[in-house]
């Protein structure tokens, strides 16, 4: 039963993540007054990538990609999707956050094993900016977990039951802003896309990937996006009463992310760290201390 459920939810996440990417391309095109590719273009691209022959740079190059996708799928199973629990009763927020790090480690290992300095620089940037955005995000979560006396995502969702005014977005408005900003960092959206930076470091970690490796990474990114936006929806937008509402909320959040990302230009990597450790950090502390002292209504 668990196996079947996990396969189903993985397929859902992949399909929806790819849809979000196609959606992103369409919106971006409209913002730039282009017509843009059809919304299902991402599916075609991914299938095409898997069908192509390609090169490998060694065992860790293969292993890391598998580890990246595997870790992301494992994380997905611990996250509530609407009213679909899978395993989210037996994981907690820290398990989810740190399991995602396994995926990042796998991808980093694989990319650096390609022995291309562009990839190494890309990974360096990805890790550096992770030090930037993760901290304010975790500070907000400390306040949230302390106030609701639980670190289980399922219970944190349950604590927001009873309508819009109980959503953490309303209860912790500053925290929601911080979480939204750090989510852009997690997704590598525009002002924080230093590690991709096609014009500077030839797409960074991706530089040596092609064929099914690239396909695996796109699938990984799809699932990762689903998990990260899903976490935001669960923690700040009250989750979803059913899967449909959950997916709609994910789409809405991503839509705003794409719009914001499209009108901003890229930071340098140390600017990303400095930015996150300045305003989001201050807001995160204000929000967390506020809610820890005052509590929820």
């Amino acid at each position: 039963m668990l196996i079947v459920e996990s396969i189903l939810i993985t397929l859902l996440a992949i399909a929806y993540g790819l849809f979000l990417m196609g959606f992103d391309r369409k919106i971006t095109a409209r913002v730039q007054k282009r017509y843009g590719p059809p919304i299902w273009q991402q599916y075609i691209d991914t299938i095409k990538l898997f069908a192509k022959s390609t090169i490998s740079h060694g065992f860790i190059f293969d292993m890391g990609v598998i580890m990246a996708l595997g870790g992301t799928i494992a994380t997905l199973l611990f996250m509530p999707v609407g009213d679909w629990k899978v395993l989210s009763m037996s994981g907690d927020l820290f398990v989810v956050i740190y399991l995602l790090a396994v995926a990042l480690l796998g991808m980093a290992m694989s990319a650096v094993n390609s022995a291309n300095p562009n990839a190494s620089i890309g990974i360096m940037r990805a890790l550096t900016q992770m030090l930037g955005y993760e901290i304010p995000w975790l500070v907000v979560l400390v306040g949230m977990m302390y106030t609701f006396k639980t670190s289980s995502i399922w219970n944190l969702v349950g604590g927001q039951a009873g309508g819009f005014s109980n959503w953490n977005m309303v209860r912790m408005p500053l925290g929601a802003i911080v979480a939204f900003t750090t989510l852009m960092g997690q997704l590598g959206k525009k002002p924080f896309d230093t590690f991709i930076a096609p014009a500077e470091i030839a797409s960074g970690p991706m530089v040596e990937y092609g064929g099914k490796y690239m396909g695996m990474l796109i699938v990984q990114h799809a699932v990762g996006m689903f998990v990260e936006i899903g976490l935001f929806v669960n923690l700040f937008l009250g989750g979803g009463a059913n899967i449909g509402i959950f997916l709609l909320k994910v789409l809405a959040v991503y839509f705003v992310q794409v719009l914001v990302g499209n009108v901003l230009s890229r930071f340098r990597v140390e600017q990303v760290v400095r930015f996150h450790w300045k305003w989001p950090m201050v807001l995160a502390f204000v929000q967390s201390i506020w809610i820890m002292v005052v509590g929820v209504r």
Partner: protein
């Protein structure tokens, strides 16, 4: 049985010297044998709590004071430390059978090394199993002096490193001995398990004074901010096989002393008299804050190291911070997290240092910018390092995550948001610094000089593999270790007045705010990897190419083909980040310029009074001095 633990290595020292005159390699196996027997003894002692043995009398009893003995005792708390110690010692001894390439100039050093390492083992067993504070102090000093000689055996300039080590240790020893004297004077007994009752009637001021003195020396030995400065020099110069012992084990001397102070003193009686901060006394908060600063300092300094050994050395500063943080919070979760972190950090840092020693064995350096691409040549070493860093960075499914999870729960339970932030920075930051050696040493382009590198001999691989297996075991089934720790918690506080055992089942761990299932997480991670693997192997096979078949923007740079290391990004890996804090003041410089410099200047000024270049003045002073002395008589 118990006295064998100390006597066996001590007698082993004599035999070792004799054996090594016949055959030096046999002496290496001899060390392994002695430590192996000791490991079996320690494992078999589990459950024999309270059994004690006398080694000798120091102070005879008088009418109003009981005698002070050198004595050993086993209890659930020190058994955990002793077990960790013996596993690390044994692993390193096995590794040393082939892994001492940096000491092998003539073989004379090696004979001394065997003698010293067995002496060191004696002090380790004696220390962790001490019955009273005096025994503790004797073995503490014993360890300091033996390791002084071991550190100075390393590279040519290691004598100055050893001096720094011994000076700071001497400061710590002074406060330690002072505290022991005060306790004996006040309480009339030094027994560790009886400290709580013996000191119960002392006023809080005296109590916290004694604790402060003891914690000062604990901070020195555990390498915690602001007394961590000896670690860098010492590790940079110590022999490669000594570093894992130093970091995995000898820093735990300080931790053990800290555990005694925070857990076995009647703190709960004294703490109401201090004002409290976030639910713990301000004294404890001060040390928790020191732990937090230690995490930050260790992390940021480790990020900018160029030598893999120094990097791991600074990571131990950061991890000593986590351990101190948990002990100072003194809640059930904090204490359990700390004790578990002692085990996890000992295993992972020993494994990291051993893999770096293996790299040194093969490549002759641990400077990261001179290495690269060793993964194909040294797969076992790579796997050891990888598993160790997953644990160090606190990522499931390895042991380090479990202890950090308990510490996070402890911090959030108390609502300590600033300390928690430091803990998070340390955890994300550790991901950064442990990745540098992975990328620079094992992955990337391989220098031409390492083209014929080979994996280290099997006898060196065994300890690395075993330590990795333990790390995985503690990640999948942490309940094994947590059961021991719960035993220790029950022994520390039988009434469960301030410490209660962590609720665990075989696979589930319950924190303050949530629970998780370690076996399930491991299983689900495996499931995810299987899914990904199926997707990967379902599709077309790929062609394996060399490292130099790379995207180079369409150019074929000749120099890259001639020396591939030019195409390896490894020097100053995190430059954009480290530039941000390059100008921060350094504690080490502050000590060297501030304290050491001023002492030197004072000494020079004093010398100048007596001798300022003119002989006449000196003779005059001497004569005048003599006359005054005579006149006074």
């Amino acid at each position: 049985m118990l006295n064998l633990l100390v006597l066996l290595p001590l007698l082993g020292v004599l035999l070792s010297r004799m054996i090594s005159t016949f055959s030096e390699p046999l002496a290496r196996w001899w060390s392994v044998l002695v430590l192996g027997v000791n490991t079996v003894i320690i494992a078999s002692l589990y459950g024999n709590w309270g059994s004690a043995v006398l080694l000798g009398q120091v102070i005879p009893s008088t009418a109003n004071r009981p005698a002070i003995h050198l004595a050993l005792e086993i209890n659930p708390l020190n058994w955990i430390f002793a077990l960790v110690a013996t596993v690390i010692l044994l692993a390193v001894a096995l590794f040393s059978i082939r892994g001492m390439s940096d000491l092998e100039n003539g073989g004379k050093n090696l004979k001394t090394y065997h003698v010293l390492s067995l002496l060191l083992s004696t002090s380790v067993y004696g220390f962790f199993l001490s019955e009273n504070l005096l025994t503790l102090f004797v073995f503490w000093e014993f360890m300091t002096w033996v390791s002084f000689f071991m550190v100075s055996m390393g590279k040519p300039r290691s004598r100055s490193a050893a001096m720094v080590f011994v000076t700071m240790s001497a400061l710590g020893a002074a406060t330690f001995l002072g505290a022991v004297a005060i306790i004996y004077r006040l309480a009339g007994t030094l027994s560790i398990s009886g400290l709580s009752t013996a000191l119960y009637r002392q006023p809080a001021g005296v109590g916290y004074g004694i604790m402060g003195l003891l914690l000062f020396s604990a901070l020195v030995k555990s390498g915690t901010f602001p007394l961590h400065t000896w670690l860098r020099k010492t590790h940079g110069h110590a022999p490669n096989v000594f570093s894992p012992v130093l970091s995995g084990l000898l820093t735990k001397f300080g931790v053990f002393l800290g555990a005694i102070v925070f857990l076995l003193f009647p703190v709960m009686k004294w703490s109401p008299q201090l004002f409290s901060l976030m639910g713990i006394s301000s004294f404890n908060y001060l040390f928790a804050a020191l732990g937090a600063v230690s995490i930050l300092v260790g992390t940021f300094l480790a990020i900018r190291q160029e030598d893999a050994k120094m990097l791991v050395a600074y990571s131990s500063v950061s991890h000593a911070g986590y351990i101190l943080l948990g002990l100072a919070i003194s809640s059930s979760l904090g204490v359990a997290g700390s004790l578990l972190h002692v085990m996890n950090h000992a295993l992972s840092s020993a494994a990291m240092f051993l893999s770096m020693a293996a790299v040194y064995h093969v490549a002759g350096t641990t400077k990261m910018s001179q290495l690269g691409g060793l993964v194909d040549k040294m797969p076992v070493t790579f796997a050891t390092y990888l598993i160790a860093i997953i644990s160090t960075a606190g990522i499931p499914p390895m042991g380090g995550f479990v202890s950090k999870w308990l510490l996070y729960q402890a911090l959030i339970e108390k609502g300590m948001i600033f300390l928690a932030t430091a803990a998070f920075i340390g955890s994300i930051g550790s991901f950064l610094y442990v990745f540098t050696p992975l990328a620079a040493v094992f992955l990337g382009q391989r220098p031409k000089a390492l083209e014929h590198a080979k994996e280290v001999p099997v006898v060196m691989q065994i300890p690395m593999v075993v330590l990795s297996l333990f790390t995985i075991l503690l990640g999948v089934l942490p309940s094994i270790a947590l059961r021991w720790i719960n035993g220790a918690i029950r022994w520390i506080d039988p009434q469960a007045s301030w410490l209660t055992p962590i609720p665990i089942t075989l696979s589930k761990i319950q924190g303050a705010f949530g629970a998780w299932d370690s076996v399930l997480v491991f299983f689900v991670f495996g499931l995810g990897v299987v899914f990904a693997g199926i997707l990967f192997y379902l599709f077309r096979k790929n062609r394996r190419v060399g490292y130099l078949e790379n995207y180079t923007a369409g150019e074929v740079p000749v120099e890259v083909i001639q020396s591939p290391e030019l195409y390896h990004y490894s020097y100053q890996f995190y430059k954009p980040l480290t530039d941000m804090y390059a100008k921060f003041p350094s504690m080490e410089e502050a000590y060297e310029k501030g304290i050491a410099g001023n002492i030197a200047r004072l000494a020079a000024a004093t010398a100048h009074i007596f001798y300022n270049g003119s002989v006449r003045w000196s003779v005059f002073l001497a004569l005048a001095g003599t006359m005054i002395v005579l006149g006074v008589r």
